[in-house]
Symmetry: C2
Amino acid sequence: MMSAMSKYDVLVVGAGVLGLSTAYHIKRENPERSILVLDKLGGPGQGNSAKSVGAFRNVFSSRTNFLLADSTIDFFTHVQEDLGHDLGLVFHGYLWLLSGRQYRRQEENFKEMSRRGVELRTWEREDLRRMIPDLVTEFEEGDEEAEVMGLEPVERGLQGVKCGSIDADRLVRFYEEEFRRLGGEVRYNVEVKRLILKPERELGLPGEPFVWQDASVKGVETVRGEEIYADRVVVAVGAWANTLLNPIGLDAFMRPKKRQVFVFKDERLERLFHSEGFNKEGVVPLLILPKAGILIKPEVSEGALWIECADNLGRPFKLEDDPQPELTYYTGNLYHVVVKYLPCFRDVQPVNMWAGQYALNSIDKTPYVFEEAGMIYVGAGSGSGLMKCDALGRIAAALYAGEKEATLYGGRAFRVSDLSVKERRVERETFVL
Amino acid sequence: MMSAMSKYDVLVVGAGVLGLSTAYHIKRENPERSILVLDKLGGPGQGNSAKSVGAFRNVFSSRTNFLLADSTIDFFTHVQEDLGHDLGLVFHGYLWLLSGRQYRRQEENFKEMSRRGVELRTWEREDLRRMIPDLVTEFEEGDEEAEVMGLEPVERGLQGVKCGSIDADRLVRFYEEEFRRLGGEVRYNVEVKRLILKPERELGLPGEPFVWQDASVKGVETVRGEEIYADRVVVAVGAWANTLLNPIGLDAFMRPKKRQVFVFKDERLERLFHSEGFNKEGVVPLLILPKAGILIKPEVSEGALWIECADNLGRPFKLEDDPQPELTYYTGNLYHVVVKYLPCFRDVQPVNMWAGQYALNSIDKTPYVFEEAGMIYVGAGSGSGLMKCDALGRIAAALYAGEKEATLYGGRAFRVSDLSVKERRVERETFVL
């Protein structure tokens, strides 16, 4: 298959969690088809999949996002419990620490989610104080810092129960192994330079495709000049999507956003690993502070806390191949919020840090799966591709098969065109704090 | 006002047709406010406004697009007829040359448009042959070229009556003069380097705005280092929008697309200027060929025909400051379609040509007018900003005033949030051939 020109039934560009999930589900449903996955990096999920915080939740206001995540989490459980692949799942929960204002603004969302079957628990301020003694829920009268920073007291905690952590690396390896076991082929260190667009009826003239020709994506050219053709090309390259789509006049409807993770391991944080009542591990859930969308995740296996913050207003959309973490972004920025709510972080330095990018569809913050010019595009668009990966892979596989409905893990049906451009039917995600 | 730091009530970035229309309408409604318009080029509409084909139509399937264009065309007429500013309006009409397949696919759209009050005329093949003797409506049996090129016979012509040409340059000058007459200020050759984002409560510390600060756009910095502040910044820079928005983490939801115009003036084309029955000028309407979206516009004042084609699949989204026309794009590509339907173009060379770019919102092909981080963004997103400019300026002015509804020229109300991101309510444009 290393000839200068090879041909497959399906070529998937991108061996991240979405590409591998898609390749696996297409192969599973079409075991006789030849499927190749390409990635420019050296192994599965080495791009941004590996750089996420590795957390999942089924708490979304949008029914679409809920279905995608909820069924994917069920699949994770199935893989670990029934199939015996340890994905490092820990259901420590998510805990949104909310001001009274924030709680009231989201109250309708919470009711709707509960009706939908999302398991939520509400904790009052006294509960939180008792269960997380390190947490500051109110600032003293005259606390000028809190006032200047616009920090609100924590009035309630909202816990999502079907939420937790997963080892992203084990997850991508699971998909990759299963895909290979079915006969799928994966090649690493192969960077795609461009999508090859060809007319349906090729004339062999220079300048094709002409404006009067119907054209579609027939394959890719790698940076080393190799041409690989396929009956169907799937693009699942996350933040890099527009570098492949834009040159042929297609749009992935997203911009690359940076997010950074800072890792803390210190005896001063020890008490957060002894917090009874939230989960069976007896640890603090993943905490979302009431300010700036700062996440603090217990990484139980390491006894570490990961602080994550995605870029927001004021931070550029800018594609980077190797985004770097900025220590001063923590020390000079996030830190000041963190220590006001959790003074135990005072003077604790991160022991590790990294940065990644995610593809943000800033219009409806919901994934895209569509077919255009014969190419299938799969993009999470939400910073939450990991926790929706299985559902998106199944939807892409249904699109590949020409089916109108995909069956998500657990049996729920999902209309494939809901994630398309032309017949898009999604609710804008409004559970954003 | 040339101090190193100046302050206005409103600063509009971009003196194209949308920026000037917006500035004019804000100033008209708020004559006491100081308003500055900046543009990097040397005069009004010197960017892509000047490079459009200068045509307008009220024929859209989307009710939103219809309202925007229809009321803007009424305003054009008002300016020329009532106010006595010659905008070079010619209502020569648009004529979509349609295959039977295309006509049937759009038939429901045509009915809906007619119900809405769009004046449409349907011409049968025999009418077209008689009225445009140069037009080939059927290809001979065994015409291999037509077959290979997938050219369909023309079965019907659909004429939009309230459609025609406008002199884009006179239009932008009208807005600019009226804006100045009301006391508005315009500075050319001033390029904005970046939007200045500042916290609401500035502390004067390095690194502001911090993640915990509410921030908004307070002004701009020019490439020469001048800082200009305003209570409200309006961004109306068309295809360049993301170069200003992306660096502060905002998205304009569009990609730059190139379009080219080729000008023909030749006695072999003379008969197209003598075509009775379509309009009072006795010229052929703007023709849309049944293939590749090729437009042929009669430029009555010059006795010339302009052929325009916007990029499509296979042509990149790529921002260019000075996009160049490609003669071979005409001779090696469009030409072959043009001469099959209009053999009078055979061997006729263009006497002039140019290229421009437009900002394409490829999701719903409908404009965006929204407020984010204190900034107002106005973008046509559709390749048809010129013909919607007056309505968009009024909607932006209503947004500036905090009103829920804008009153379009002629009195129709338009819900401002319909063009926003968060409460967007538009129909996807499906009259695309």
